[in-house]
């Protein structure tokens, strides 16, 4: 396996710097929200992690389609990497949302449409990882995983649109929802901080994605060496 390319090393540095800058913007630049005060600052990373999580699940479905068309294991590695990182980011978004909800809604969790669809989405992809492990044949595993991510991706738009389609207490950032609790008027500084956090987490996602793909390639190499040893 080749050592880290220069572009990846540079991406690591850029990711760390952007992350620190995003933290700086959240704590030093974005104004304090009047009703929720400091806890509202969770919002910036909550929305950014949820965004990259959902984007990653869609990317996994795209990789799945390519895998089915090209019958190439490379796309299975890419698909797995996208799912794993998205699962982590989406779990962070769920936990961050729960922490934000406690002082705002008075509870960590409630079975309202957004939270329910988000929990289902997370469980669908946890099941993906568990089911993959039960298939030994790499080609069969790749085919099964590709179809699974394709079907699983249907839950992404459902989760995204749930706050717009159903009556829910979850705030809508863009647009309005009269039934929501914890919604607030975004100032231009808040909006800029939110978009910077979205950009930062997108870059962090790409960085981790690259690392995870390299890890998948290394795992594939180990699998090949083991097969050679057995023959």
């Amino acid at each position: 396996m080749k050592p880290q390319p220069l572009a990846l090393k540079m991406l690591n540095v850029v990711s760390v710097l952007l992350f620190l800058a995003a933290l700086g913007m959240v704590f030093l630049y974005a104004p304090l929200e009047v009703t929720m005060n400091y806890v509202q600052k969770i919002f910036y990373f909550h929305i950014a992690t949820a965004w990259v999580g959902m984007l990653g699940f869609i990317a996994a479905a795209v990789a799945g389609v390519v895998c089915l068309i090209k019958h190439d294991q490379k796309w299975d590695i890419i698909e797995l990497a996208a799912v794993e990182i998205s699962l982590i980011f989406f779990l962070i978004a769920i936990f961050a949302g729960s922490i934000w909800a406690r002082p705002t809604w008075g509870t960590y969790w409630t079975w309202e449409p957004r939270l329910t669809t988000a929990a289902i989405l997370e469980m669908i992809y946890i099941a993906y990882l568990l089911l993959r492990q039960g298939i030994d044949d790499p080609d069969r595993r790749a085919r099964f995983s590709a179809v699974y991510t394709l079907v699983g991706a249907i839950s992404v738009p459902i989760t995204f649109l749930s706050i717009r389609l159903f009556r829910t207490i979850h705030p809508v950032v863009i647009g309005t929802n009269s039934a929501s609790t914890g919604s607030f008027d975004m100032t231009s500084k808040m909006l800029l901080t939110m978009f910077f956090a979205l950009f930062t987490f997108s870059i962090i996602f790409v960085d981790l994605f690259w690392h995870r793909i390299r890890l998948g390639q290394l795992a594939q190499l180990v699998e090949q060496l083991k097969l050679e040893e057995l023959q």
Binding site: M36, N37, Y38, V39, K41, F95, I99, T104, R212, L215
Partner: protein, 50 residues
């Protein structure tokens, strides 16, 4: 309106959780990478002996 002390407490809890989970994932990537490298080393040594 949420009290300042309560608000700060939950904000800190949120950011500590985010940093912890991201760090744990990066550490897990690094451990898995190291283990796979070790596996490759061992498998190559076995192949040489054979």
């Amino acid at each position: 309106m949420i009290e300042y002390a309560t608000s700060i407490k939950y904000m800190l809890a949120g950011y500590v959780m985010i940093l912890t989970m991201l760090s744990l994932y990066i550490v897990s990537l690094s451990i898995r990478w190291r283990n796979l490298k070790r596996d490759i080393q061992t498998l190559k040594e076995i192949q040489k002996k054979d």
